[in-house]
Each structure stands twice: as structure tokens, then as C-alpha cells.
Amino acid sequence: MEKIENKPIAIQLKGITKTFGNVSANKDVTMDVRRGEILAVLGENGSGKTTLMNMIAGIYYPDEGQIFVNGEEAVIRSPQDAFRHGIGMIHQHFKLVDVFTAAQNIVLGVREKGRYKLKDANERVFEIAEKYGFHIDPEKKVYEMSVSEKQTVEIVKVLYRGADILILDEPTAVLTPQETEKLFDVLRRMRDDGKSIIIITHKLNEVLEISDRVAVLRKGEYVGTVETAETNELALTEMMVGKKVSLNIERTEPENSCDRLFVAHLNCRDREGVKKLDDVTFTARAGEILGIAGIAGSGQRELLEAIAGLQHLESGEITYIDPESGEEVNLRDKTPMQIRELGVRLSFVPEDRLGMGLVGNMDIVDNMMLRSYGKGKSIFLDRKDPKKLAENIIESLEVVTPGLHTPVRRLSGGNVQKVLVGREIASTPTVLMAAYPVRGLDINSSYTIYNLLTKQKENGVAVIFVGEDLDVLIELCDRILVIGSGRVAGILDGRTAKKEEIGLLMTGSRENTGAAAENEAEENLEENIPDGKGGAHE
């Protein structure tokens, strides 16, 4: 293969600086991207990766510095300017119009001559898809698509505009391992076609797998670029964080493990009548982390919400075993308030942090009160205890905030999550459920959260952890429940499970859905449990 240094430069950044208010997102960044390479941009949250890329894509305009495209200085003031220079960005949150078809989304905003005809667009979409090995239906509406299909639309959208510099912001965050592989194949094909690809990601193993070079940012500053072949995970992390960190999750052996929560034969449907949970049965044990793996939207949310008393069930049983008295408490069809009144200490970290977890416009203290509002005796608020708790959390979890009274929506994702997890843990739960608690968090904050979960487990809490990074699930969890299309596809031992095995279970049951009979779920279950280690049926 041709040496990367010899390849022509596609984009060169010189002294790029961008500040928001008095926070500088990027400081004097100078780096380059070559043609025909895949460059990974690595950095913690808030290190300015996305801001930097947004400046290349025309979403923001740099305060200082220059951008050169193919050797010429380019002024990129809008996405349209970026397209003119052949630059296209695929954002982390898909920018698609739900009620439009794939083709309508793809041609949106394109200034072409001649009449607006969707048929011609459909043909060109097909051509592009053919060339790089995509599968796409131009007439499908976006709201009917899976996440990976939506991503395909985004990529084709950029290619349709003739981009030869593609920026992908966290493209694998929502994909299964198999879908990720497919995406990487496409990316490699585009690279071989001479396109430049910039990929922003948190996942070090993917960086090592896909990229030719890695550029690292730290706190808005450019640290350096290294050739992927000459580096490894530890070295990259050091560059990112600026100090040595241990990337090991310490998984302790479960102690005094006992059954805490029985979930049996749960069934539920959503408002449209689509089955969301299909005969879900499992047990959560105290002193153990039970991981839940599955493609996004496979019923994870419904499952946790059902346990938390937020989801109406068609049938099934949820039974909690009181750790002190050993009594069985039925939690089905109870509201969160009733559950608390029963003396069940259930904590829930929902995936939608600012929607279900916290109130964005309220400060940290008031958000603490959301869990304890029932305690007060007078009609006036008593902010003393919540304030103490808030100070405690800020200190112990190193929450970065301008003050106690800053609205939480102004905090960064990682800090919001720390506030939420901190509050939930502070109520000394016996069952702790966390859905995607590290979504969008940088590597350091992620490990803080993992360690918090492990500490809870050591304290004898039954932890249920819904995750998307399979490597982490395998490292962190004692048992992993794989869910596919609302069914338990298998329960694996976290110490012996293989990533590929989980990936297959995640997707496998999805393909079966159509043909499979209702009660086949049970059979699947038994087949997939290796040597009864999982112990799904109690």
C-alpha cells in the first residue's frame, strides 16, 4: 500500500480556534487529512471533536484560523459551502425528515438545474448504492426504517452531493457488531475509491480496526496524529486523557448472591399494538450485575419501565424479595409511588436523562428533591438536605458545574449523567436499573460510571445494566441477558460469553420473528443457554 505521507492532502486546518461564550471549544488546532485515508478523530467528551468537524462541515464558523481544501483556502460559512468543496458530514443524531422518503431526504436542499423529478433521483440513488455496496429502498419512508437503514440514507445523501470528504460522527454508536462490520466494509470501499473519511468515535477497538491514522484532541487542543499501525489502546488513551489511566473494569466475584427480583412471562404491547415484550422471564440477583444486550428498541426500555411501574403489562409477574424479611412483594401494576410505599428501594436511571430522569431547567438541588419531595412536613420547601446531597454528589463524582444552581441542561452529557446516577445511588437502592448510562460519555466518565455500578453490586444491590457496547457488557456483567424483538434470546455468563455469540443472538431472533410461533421463544431460550450456567428459569 502507498505510504500515507505520500498521499495528497485533502483538508488542512491551520490554527483553528472557536469559543462559545467564554469557553473555548477548540484552541489553535492545526492538522491535516489526506486523500484516500480513514482518519479517526479521538478525544474525550468536550474535547472539541464535534465542534471542529462542524466547522469543516459549515455548521459553525471558526473565530480564527484557516481551512484549506485541496490546497486552496476555503471559506466555509454554511453546509452548502461545505458541499461545494466536496465535504459532507453524517451527524450523530441523524438529520432526516421522518415523513419523507429516502429519496426525498437525499435530494433535499440540492440545487440542481431542471425540473424536480423524484424518479431521476431514485435512479441516481441506486447507482451510488450499487457502487459502494449499500442496500437502500429510495421510496421507503424514514420513520419505517431501522437505525442502520437511516444511516445508509445519511451516507448516500452526502455522496449524492458529490462529497469526497466524508465526516462521520459516532457512526457505530447505535449499530450491532454485524451492522458495524458492514459499515466498515463500505467505508473501506470508499477509501479505496480515493475518498477521505474522518470518523469520530469513542470506541478504541474500532479506531484500531478501521482507521489508517488517528488524530487526538484533548480539551480543545490538538495533541497529535499517529499511524494506527504503530499504536495501541493504552497509548491512545494516554494521549486522550493526558495521563496514564487504567482501562480495566474490576469485576469482583459476586458475594452472598441471592435472588432479589423475579420477572416471569412479561408481555406487553405499545400503543400501535406492536408486541414489545414477549414472554420475558429472568431473575435479578443481589450482588450481581445483570447486563441486558440487544439492538436498540428491542424492548429494553419497556422491560425496565415495566419493573419501575411505568409500563402497562398484558400479563406476567414481577416479584420482589425483601432483603430483610424475605417476603415476596408483587410489583405488577403498581405506580412508582406505590412501589416506594411498599418499602421497595428501586432506583431507575432511564436512557432519556433530561426527559425522564431530570428536569433540565431546574438546578441540581431541585433535581435532588424530585426523589424526596414526599418527605417534607411543612408546606414550604426544605432545601437543606437536598443541598447537602447535591454538594456531596458534585464532590464525590467530580461533577463539573459552574455552581449548585445551574440548570442541569447546561451541563455536559457526562455531568448530567453523574448527577442522575448520583441521585439514584444516594437513595441506597436494593435494585438499581440503568439504561445506557454511558451513552455519549467519554472514556473517563464511562469508567467512573462502571466503577459506581460495580461498587453498588459489592454493596449487595441487584444491578440491571442495559448497555450497547458489547465489550463493556462482557467485561462488566456477571450475567448477560440478550434480548431480541422483545424476547429473551439467551442468558449468558459474562465471564465466558463471546462477542460474536451475543451479536448473533441479538440479530438471530429478529430474523425469526415472522415465522416463529409464539411459544418458540421458550425453546430458543433453552437452546441458547450454555450448560445451564445462565439459569433463566427459576
Binding site: F20, I59, K95, D98, F100, L108, G109
Partner: protein
């Protein structure tokens, strides 16, 4: 009597049709403009003022100017109100609901003030009304067909034409696609290089301009040149009609006739009390609620309002 009923229903329907077509265009950009009653009032008042001064200066010597100039003034007045609304919501980021309601109270009040300034000699504009009310002189020779469909003034046919053009532009052109994208997901539109601010301003100004013509039509044609404080009611009905027709201007042609028929039905039923008349006049709102219930039950993405309706967009909001 049926013929007369249908004919009147179609005639009144133009008011709602202008109102709703304009509001649909506005709402497609993501602006929930509750200021329609005020905008129709202001537009109509400005149109009447223009009519008044025209009659005073040139009299009835050039009839087509008596329609064209007030029409343009009305449109400009509505568009100005739209500009004010857009300035408040897009540039100053004011809450859309509050802004819209403020436009209604402001507009209705302003219209009353303007009309009061010429009130003493207001009756003179009834002389111009006859140019609004007929277009085809041969209509009464064609029996019932002529009376129902051809006996109306030019603004009735213009309303239908505007609705059809709006439907085509929204669904068959690139501008329409871009506009719908702005209302559905402005961040997406922005990222592909559509000027969200421009589209919102333009759609709102054009939409408000069209809505306000409904006001002028109502006074000059339907009321025969007599100012009545009825536009506020018709403005709200126009907004209800937008929901009733599921944001489709073509459906609005039929919907506006239904609204018109329901609104005037009480005068064609003999021997009912005042209370019953008011109950019958409520029917347009009732059918709108029924449509809302039905679409909520069906819950199809195709019958939903623009996803970002009522939400302001700031690019750097994270």
C-alpha cells in the same frame, strides 16, 4: 332553497379557504400562528381604507382598480403582520403561542381603530361591493348549475386557484419539499443548506398575506361592503379548518364548503330559537374535534401536523 343554500355556503367558504390556505403555508414552515383572526381583521381594515380613498378620489370610473388595489393593500397588510410575527418568533425567539395570541388581540383592536377613523362615511364602500360579487354575467342563464358554481365574485375563484397552487407547490416542487423539511425538522433542513430563517419569514409573510385576503373578501363580498366584527370568529374557524383538512390545501376547498354550510345552516332552518342557532354554529368546531379524535386513533404519521410546529429553531442550541 337547496340551491340558494349551497350557493351561499360556497360563497362564504372563500373566507375560510383563504384563511386556512394561508395558515397551512405558515404552519408548514413550523409556525403555529394563532394570530389569524387579527391578521384577517387588519388586512380587511386596510383594504377597506384603500377602497374608501379610491372611491373618494377616482370614484367608480376604473372598476378593476377597485378590486386590485385593495387586494394588494390587504395582502401587504397581512404580510406585514406576518413579518412582525416572524420577527418576534424567529429573530427574537418569542414563544409562538403567546405571539400568535398577542397578534390576534392586537390585530382585532387595530382593525377597529382603523375602521373607526372612516366610520362616518363608511357606507360609501358598499358602492364598490358589486364589483366583487359577480364575475360571470351569464351565470343566471344556466339554472341551478350557474347559481351554485358560477354566480360568485372573482375572489371565490381566486381562493380555489390559490389553494390548488399551494397544494402543487407544497407537494410537487423543490421549494415545497424544502419548506416542509423546515417545518418537520429545521436542524436537518439547516444542515443540507436550506435557509431556515428565510423560509420561515417568507412562508409566514405569504401565508399571512393570503389569510388576510379572506378578511377583505368577507367584508367586501360576503357582507356587501358593511364592516362587521365577525372576522375574529372566521379567523378561528380558519385555524380549525387547517386541522380539519389535515394540512392539505386541496382538501381545504371541500372542507371550507362544509364549514360554510355548517355555519349558515341555522338560517335555513325555520322555527329555531337563538340558542339553537348558536349550537348549530358550533358544529364546525365539533367536526374538527371529531377529526382530531379520529386521526389520533389512526395515529398515522401522514396525518400528523409538521413535527416541529410551534417550536422555534436556534442553530446553536444544543
Amino acid at each position: 332553497m337547496i340551491v340558494g343554500f349551497l350557493s351561499s355556503a360556497i360563497r362564504l367558504s372563500a373566507t375560510f379557504l383563504y384563511g386556512s390556505t394561508g395558515e397551512i403555508i405558515t404552519e408548514k414552515s413550523g409556525h403555529l400562528n394563532l394570530g389569524v383572526p387579527g391578521i384577517m381583521s387588519v388586512g380587511a381594515a386596510l383594504g377597506c381604507l384603500c377602497e374608501y380613498y379610491l372611491l373618494k378620489s377616482i370614484g367608480t370610473s376604473v372598476p378593476f382598480l377597485l378590486i386590485l388595489l385593495p387586494l394588494l393593500v390587504t395582502f401587504a397588510g397581512g404580510a406585514l403582520m406576518g413579518l412582525l410575527y416572524s420577527f418576534l418568533t424567529v429573530s427574537l425567539r418569542a414563544n409562538q403561542n403567546v405571539t400568535g395570541l398577542a397578534m390576534t388581540t392586537f390585530g382585532v383592536g387595530l382593525a377597529g381603530y382603523l375602521i373607526n377613523s372612516i366610520k362616518a362615511q363608511m357606507a360609501i364602500i358598499t358602492r364598490a361591493s358589486k364589483y366583487y360579487t359577480t364575475l360571470f354575467p351569464f351565470a343566471d342563464k344556466l339554472g341551478w348549475f350557474g347559481e351554485i358554481f358560477l354566480s360568485h365574485g372573482i375572489l371565490v375563484y381566486l381562493a380555489i386557484a390559490v389553494a390548488i397552487v399551494a397544494q402543487i407547490v407544497l407537494n410537487k416542487t423543490r421549494i415545497g419539499l424544502n419548506l416542509r423539511a423546515v417545518g418537520e425538522n429545521p436542524a436537518t433542513a439547516d444542515a443540507v443548506g436550506i435557509n431556515v430563517t428565510l423560509y420561515r419569514y417568507a412562508a409566514t409573510c405569504i401565508g399571512c398575506g393570503i389569510s388576510s385576503i379572506g378578511g377583505l373578501f368577507c367584508i367586501m363580498d360576503y357582507m356587501g361592503g358593511n364592516w362587521e366584527y365577525i372576522l375574529e370568529v372566521f379567523g378561528w374557524l380558519s385555524i380549525a379548518l387547517v386541522i380539519f383538512t389535515l394540512w392539505r390545501p386541496a382538501l381545504s376547498i371541500l372542507g371550507s364548503i362544509i364549514f360554510g354550510a355548517l355555519y349558515i345552516a341555522s338560517s335555513y332552518i325555520s322555527g329555531i330559537t337563538f340558542a339553537q342557532i348558536e349550537l348549530i354554529r358550533m358544529l364546525p368546531y365539533v367536526v374538527t374535534i371529531v377529526v382530531l379524535i379520529i386521526t389520533s386513533i389512526i395515529n398515522s404519521r401522514e396525518t400528523q401536523p409538521p413535527a416541529n410546529l410551534g417550536l422555534n429553531y436556534f442553530r446553536e442550541d444544543r
